[in-house]
């Protein structure tokens, strides 16, 4: 091979490798994006069926129930307008509390219950996951204040 051909084959190989790599990366990226939905959006049927997504809101006070095995828990996540029941089996994180914000990842069951595979409640006591703050703010903006919800201003709970 002449040096010129050598250089071309080198560049060609590099481009092919780079192409394969980016195809791989973008494909994996696309199939692993986890979207976030508020309880209102879920009620409106915007959330996907059969695909994992995240839901965020406040854990409604007085809704946390534990089954006899000590591990399966039921609670309701609300954005102060709509309420979504959530089921989770496992140990809840330290910062999970009624009346506080939480984000859960999982799938929507056929009966409208959100089956969580993971519950996230990191950071400190006063921290509100930004998703949650936004979900509440959004619900507030839509103006439909329902009777069975907490009253909490988003300004106060924003980080």
């Amino acid at each position: 091979m002449t040096p010129r051909q050598k250089r071309f084959s080198m560049i060609g190989l590099g481009l092919v490798a780079l192409g394969i790599a980016s195809a791989l990366v973008l494909n994996a990226f696309n199939s692993n994006l986890v979207f976030f939905f508020t309880p209102t959006q879920i009620e409106n049927g915007e959330a996907p069926k059969g695909r994992s997504f995240r839901i965020g809101g406040l854990v409604e006070a007085g809704t946390l129930k534990r089954e006899g095995d000590g591990l399966t828990v039921h609670f309701v996540v609300t954005d102060t307008v709509k309420r979504i029941p959530v089921t989770y089996k496992g140990i809840l994180p330290d910062l999970f509390k009624e009346g506080k914000g939480a984000v859960a990842q999982g799938q929507l069951g056929t009966d409208g219950t959100f089956v969580a595979s993971e519950v996230l409640a990191k950071h400190d006591e006063n921290y509100m996951p930004p998703e949650v703050a936004e979900a509440i703010a959004k619900a507030k903006k839509s103006g439909a204040q329902s009777s069975n919800t907490l009253t909490m201003s988003p300004e106060r709970i924003k980080p």
């Binding site: 994996a28 591990l71 140990i91």
Partner: protein, 663 residues
């Protein structure tokens, strides 16, 4: 009074940084020895001043001076002294001070170990570092001053976040920052070379040890962080692909690529332009990482909106540093030249492929980390990128990189012969494939990933043996031992670091393949068996710590009737922040970890409990430590020490200011 001294020291440091960033670089361009010679004393003065500021903040924490806002926000009168000191870097302002302090520490090191550099080169290097430090000092003094007063003083502090009250907090951030900031030296070398227009093999030889040392610190820092997450977060994972972790992993990937590309520039004079680009990239990613983690942008993009000045400063600073150096690169790099050519099959081409793979891996992490931020900032919705993305991307990218890692050291520079390589490596290939296929059956489970992981680590080890044998065969010595001893330390460093990767892969593979996790409810006296170990729950009792109360569970662990250990996991409630914390109990071993953490109290003294059996997990961090040790071994090689001693002897007069500065 003391905080004001610290504040004043920072202002003085800013003035010195201004001088150091401008005059020596101008002097190097104008050929003025007087201006150039100012770099060294300025760097040392700056180190001293920032050291004073750092000590002042430490003193304020030690004395519980709650009239300092930062102290009041991050400490409490009940917080033990070592955590009060670690709280210096517990939040934004203090981490910036730590960053700047470490930057001046590296500057000081450069003044000590650069007597053999040409005067103009040294002036430019210190000048560039001075400019970086100027940016940080300006940032601190304008929008995030750690010495800001709180008047009237708070009666008591808000306490350090309980998550951070851990020995990991004492060690992890300084180590990580030593790594991050260490890349500023390689960066300054690269910019100095671009400014001077002379980028030769000597340049690469000078910047190599600096890059390697920074890389070692970063490796240890990341490993410490991962270990900390493992035992502190209470769910037993060691890597979450969290943006905070990714922020430190990206400079590591770029730094690893840089080390290998520097080797080519040093030995063969090749890859020059690419090496310079990698040096810029590694440091830019370090900056990005620091700001991602410390600006609060990750918790919420809108945190920027609450303090727009900070956000604006950060963006402007990043734009100036990254944009400026890339502009300089575009302008000057064509003059640098490409270096020698090489064949399609050669050590250069393999190192190049390894570099490309590492950079692609880095880019994929960058995409996964920044894309959700961009979408959010643009108001296009909230998404997150799950760990499966990174897993699916990393396995296919790292597999060829590790395959090449085995061949590279055996291949000749410039032109290697594929058939000869195949001949040398055929038994290594056979042994690793055979063992990787059979071993999982011995272990009792076969999955493709298990075999792949074992294959990769065996491949590294067997090819390492093959190339040690190959190198020894060229030496004429009396015994095998003297031959092995004759191989240079830099070579042994590489061998050790590569074996560290093998150990790391074994750890990851075995944990992924064989870990057993169980969440369950346990009554007092009840037992559960996982991984052959029987855990008996003997109830929980209340204990009191300095600033928390805890429920401490008692677990008796036996294996086949023999007593193994007692384990005491805790559930703590930190009083000041009213925050619960899980302290897992871990029994570590070479071949397995036992991990117990408490969930929640249930009725009649029962608890929900998490029991893990994690085979080989300590190999993950062990592998990282071995990698770092390999790096240090390589830096201690004779060729660096010789060069250093020779040039010291040639320039004895250069030592005098050193002693003055030290006194």
């Amino acid at each position: 009074m003391i905080p004001e001294v610290g504040h004043f020291a920072l202002i003085l440091a800013l003035c010195v940084a201004l001088v150091q960033g401008i005059l020596p670089i101008y002097g190097a361009a104008a050929g003025s020895p007087v201006l150039m010679s100012m770099a060294k004393p300025a760097a040392r003065a700056q180190f001293l001043l920032v050291l004073i500021a750092f000590c002042c903040l430490g003193y304020a924490f030690a004395q519980k001076d709650f009239s300092v806002l930062y102290v009041a926000a991050n400490a409490n009168s009940k917080l033990p002294l070592h955590y009060r000191l670690a709280a210096i870097w517990g939040a934004h302002e203090g981490s910036l001070l730590l960053w700047t302090f470490i930057l001046t520490l590296w500057m000081f090191a450069v003044t000590l170990f650069s007597t053999h550099l040409p005067e103009a080169m040294r002036a430019r290097i210190l000048g560039v570092m001075g400019l970086v430090s100027l940016g940080f000092l300006l940032f601190m003094l304008t929008v995030s001053n750690p010495f800001e007063r709180l008047i009237p003083a708070a009666p008591d502090g808000r306490d350090l976040n309980p998550l951070l009250q851990d020995p990991g907090m004492v060690m992890h951030p300084p180590m990580l920052y030593m790594g991050y900031v260490g890349f500023s030296v390689a960066f300054a070398f690269a910019i100095a070379a671009l400014l001077g227009g002379n980028l030769d093999a000597a340049w690469a030889r000078w910047s190599r040890p600096w890059t390697t040392v920074a890389w070692c610190f970063l490796t240890v820092g990341i490993a410490l962080g991962s270990g900390w997450a493992y035992y502190e977060l209470g769910w037993g994972g060691w890597w979450f692909w969290d943006p905070v972790e990714n922020a430190s992993f990206m400079p590591w990937l770029a730094g690893t690529a840089l080390m290998h590309s520097l080797a080519v520039t040093d030995k063969r004079g090749g890859f020059k332009v690419w090496t310079v680009l990698l040096a810029i990239m590694a440091f830019s990613l370090s900056l990005l990482g620091t700001f991602l983690v410390r600006s609060g942008v990750l918790t919420s993009v809108h945190a920027f909106a609450t303090d727009p000045k900070r956000g604006l400063f950060i963006l402007a600073f990043l734009a100036i540093v990254i944009g400026g150096s890339l502009l300089l690169y575009a302008w000057r790099a064509p003059r640098v030249g490409l270096g020698g050519g090489f064949d399609l099959v050669s050590r250069e081409s393999m190192l190049l492929a390894n570099n490309v793979l590492l950079v692609v891996a880095m880019a994929s992490v960058l995409l996964g980390t920044l894309y959700p931020l961009f979408l959010d900032a643009l108001g296009l919705g909230k998404i997150s990128v799950g760990p499966p993305y990174f897993d699916t991307v990393f396995v296919p990218l790292m597999t060829p990189a590790i395959f090449l890692m085995g061949i590279g050291p055996l291949a000749q520079w410039k032109k290697a012969s594929l058939p000869a390589l195949a001949m040398q490596l055929r038994w290594a290939f056979g042994v690793s494939v055979g063992t990787a296929l059979l071993l999982p059956f011995v272990l009792g489970k076969w999955t493709p990933l298990l075999s792949l992981g074992l294959l990769l680590s065996l491949w590294i080890v067997t090819t390492t043996v093959a190339h040690i044998r190959e190198r020894v065969s060229h030496l004429v010595g009396n015994s095998l031992l003297s031959c092995l001893a004759a191989l240079p330390r830099a070579y042994w460093g590489m061998v050790l670091a590569h074996c560290g990767i093998a150990v790391f892969i074994v750890g990851v593979t075995m944990v992924k393949g064989f870990e057993v996790e169980q969440d369950l409810r346990m009554n007092v006296g009840e037992t559960a068996t996982i991984g052959g170990y029987t855990f008996r729950f003997d109830g929980a009792q209340e204990v009191k710590g300095p600033n928390y109360i805890a429920a401490r569970g008692i677990f008796n662990v036996t294996k086949e009737g023999r007593e193994v250990t007692m384990m005491y996991p805790e559930k703590r409630l930190y009083a000041v922040q009213n925050q619960a914390m899980t302290e897992a109990a871990i029994d570590s071993g070479l071949l397995r970890d036992l991990y117990v953490s408490l969930g929640e109290p249930l009725e009649d003294g029962a608890w929900s409990v998490r029991l893990y059996h994690k085979p080989f997990i300590d190999w993950i961090w062990g592998g990282c430590l071995i990698m770092a040790l390999g790096g240090l071994l390589a830096v201690s090689d004779r060729r660096y020490r010789l060069a250093w001693r020779r040039e010291r002897a040639e320039a004895p007069e250069a030592l005098q200011p050193l002693e003055k500065g030290a006194a």
